[in-house]
């Protein structure tokens, strides 16, 4: 006598047969299925950073892929690895995903070698986003330090493309030295937009630099802030956003109206690998965008 136990086949589940949509968190799906994407264009920004334009090949997948500013994707170079990268482009630019990538590890190393036409994989989008809806009707401060301009570029697009929804917009950007300034070809364009002010500062000037020199907080001297009428998005290294947020908090901007994007190691983007845990919070699910009050309450966040 034999008892063969029946086989449960997950592939027969109705849910898993639906097209993969990472925006639908609870639905059973092929969690590691990547959307094949082509690197359609590469722009060299600095010695260390390049901007990659990615286009999802499958038309239906491309159509379904939507994201909000602040979200990130897991970018996979098949055979070499996967890394979380925040989306730098505009959400309205359908089907085109812009990723600004610094050469730092194996995967990003390979990417910097790759050429136009390379086929990579994308999963996502993942994570929380900047609350651009809530920010409507307020003064907006968009502040970035260093590579922080990469995630900040998405809300810059969102705000400038929907200019009438927001009041005064101040973009503040600081880097160590002029050679590290990202997206310098876009500054002029941003500056020309009515009611958008762009302030740039470097810590150390070179021969050609004629602008401001110092820490990013120095730029606050030039800006008029109405604390209770302001929302702020701050992207950059922890030390930087800590000082910036502390200043804003001191002048009276509520902590839950300042938003930061945290960087952590991530291997899944789906609240499973635990690598991005801060205490009991998953940066990939509950973040990467947090309001400053939450960050203050997360031990070890900064």
């Amino acid at each position: 006598m034999k008892i063969p136990l029946y086989h449960y086949d997950i592939m027969k589940e109705r849910e898993i047969q639906q097209p993969v949509d990472f925006n639908r968190h609870r639905r059973l799906k092929h969690t590691d299925k990547t959307f094949k994407a082509e690197i359609s264009s590469i722009t060299t920004l600095t010695d260390m950073e390049k901007l990659f334009h990615l286009r999802i090949l499958d038309e239906a997948e491309r159509e379904r892929f939507t994201f909000l500013p602040g979200q990130f994707v897991m970018l996979e170079v098949p055979g070499y690895g996967e890394v979380p990268i925040s989306i730098s482009g505009s959400p309205s630019n359908k089907g085109l995903i812009e990723l600004c990538i610094r050469k730092a590890g194996t995967v990003t190393g390979v990417l910097h070698k790759a050429k136009r036409g390379a086929l990579v994989g994308i999963r996502g989008p993942f994570g929380t986003h900047f609350p651009l809806e809530k920010m409507k009707g307020y003064d907006i401060l968009l502040i970035a330090g260093g590579l922080g301009l990469a995630p900040l570029r998405a809300p810059i697009f969102a705000v400038t493309e929907n200019r009438p929804d927001y009041r005064k917009v101040d973009i503040m950007y600081g880097t160590k030295d002029p050679s590290q300034l990202l997206f310098d070809y876009q500054y002029e364009q941003w500056r020309r937009i009515d009611g958008v002010n762009l302030h740039i500062i470097v810590e150390k000037a070179d021969d050609k630099w004629t602008g401001d020199v110092g820490l990013i907080t120095k730029l606050f001297d030039k800006i008029e802030i109405v604390p209770h009428e302001t929302y702020a998005i701050v992207c950059g290294p922890p030390v930087m956003f800590k000082f910036v947020c502390a200043y804003l908090s001191k002048i009276g901007v509520p902590m839950d109206r300042m938003f930061v994007s945290l960087e952590r190691r991530m291997h899944c983007g789906m609240g499973k690998c635990c690598r991005c845990n801060i205490g009991s919070t998953y940066t990939c699910i509950d973040g990467p965008v947090f309001d400053y009050w939450t960050v203050m309450n997360l031990k070890e966040a900064i």
Binding site: I39, V77, P78, G105, T106, G109, V110, K113, A114, K115, R116, G117, A118, L119, V120
Partner: protein
């Protein structure tokens, strides 16, 4: 790699042996199932152990063994001049390996006892990096061929290869092994660097630390454990000095 629009290259590779057992070189010819693919991925232009062809035109030089004689220093310096990338292959090249154990003895006594009236040229053993700059160190006694394959793949693209930094315990546990300490054996697993897949504890032998120390090893607690479990200082120190990776670390020495 064409899917990344990268044309694969075929670097010229040379393999040289110094004071060693040539076991690490042998690993290059092992793992038979992928040997042909391995040989197709690189162009071996100089590899005395398996080929009588000799060329000085190479980009990557793998060095097996430690340095223990004056002529080896000269040979090594010449190789360094020619190689774009110099890789220390195996524990002897990285740390001196077991050869280093001889440094504890007086060489002239050893020479007299073994070679009598015809003493041989020899000097205290040194790792490759103590003689010339090294671009990459591949630890292990012997090296792990699977890791070599991955390293080669990284060298082809000129990107960094990250060695595991955690201790052997991780890989040992993932083999479902009973802890060697539980079986009453001494094991350097908790402080030694992994990447080997723990063949020794799996085969019933406590780790000897051939890949050197893990990142941030907790020596104090390790010594405390050894003491509590009744291992003599001599035994622990013999283990630590065995492959030369734990240079200067010893139990019972005031820091």
């Amino acid at each position: 790699m064409r899917y990344l629009s990268i044309e694969p290259t075929k670097p010229k590779v040379a393999v040289f042996d110094f004071t060693s057992c040539e076991g690490c070189e042998l690993q290059l010819a092992n793992k038979e199932e992928t040997l042909v693919d391995f040989l197709k991925a690189v162009e071996i232009v100089n590899f005395r152990e398996v080929s009588s062809a000799k060329s000085d035109d190479y980009e990557i030089a793998f060095i097996e063994g430690a340095v223990s004689r004056s002529d080896e220093i000269e040979r090594l310096k010449k190789i360094r001049e020619k190689a774009r990338v110099l890789v220390a292959l195996g524990c002897c090249a990285c740390y001196g390996g077991v050869n280093k154990l001889k440094n504890a003895f007086d060489l002239s006594t050893a020479n007299r006892e073994i070679y009598g009236n015809y003493p041989k040229d020899s000097m205290p053993v040194r790792a490759i990096k103590d003689v010339v700059p090294v671009d990459m160190e591949i630890p292990g006694c012997p090296v792990n061929k699977e890791e070599i394959e991955r390293i080669i793949q990284h060298l082809l693209l000129d990107i960094n290869y990250n060695f595991p930094v955690y201790p052997v315990c991780v890989e040992c546990k993932q083999k479902f092994n009973v802890c060697m300490f539980e079986k009453g054996q001494l094991c350097l697993g908790p402080i030694a660097r992994a990447g080997c897949s723990a063949p020794c504890p799996t085969g019933g032998l406590g780790c000897y630390g051939c890949r050197g120390p893990a990142a941030d090893p907790n020596y104090d607690e390790f010594f405390e454990i050894a003491r509590r479990r009744g291992f003599a200082e001599q035994e622990v120190n013999e283990r630590l000095s065995f492959f030369g990776g734990f240079n200067g670390i010893a139990m019972g020495v005031q820091k």
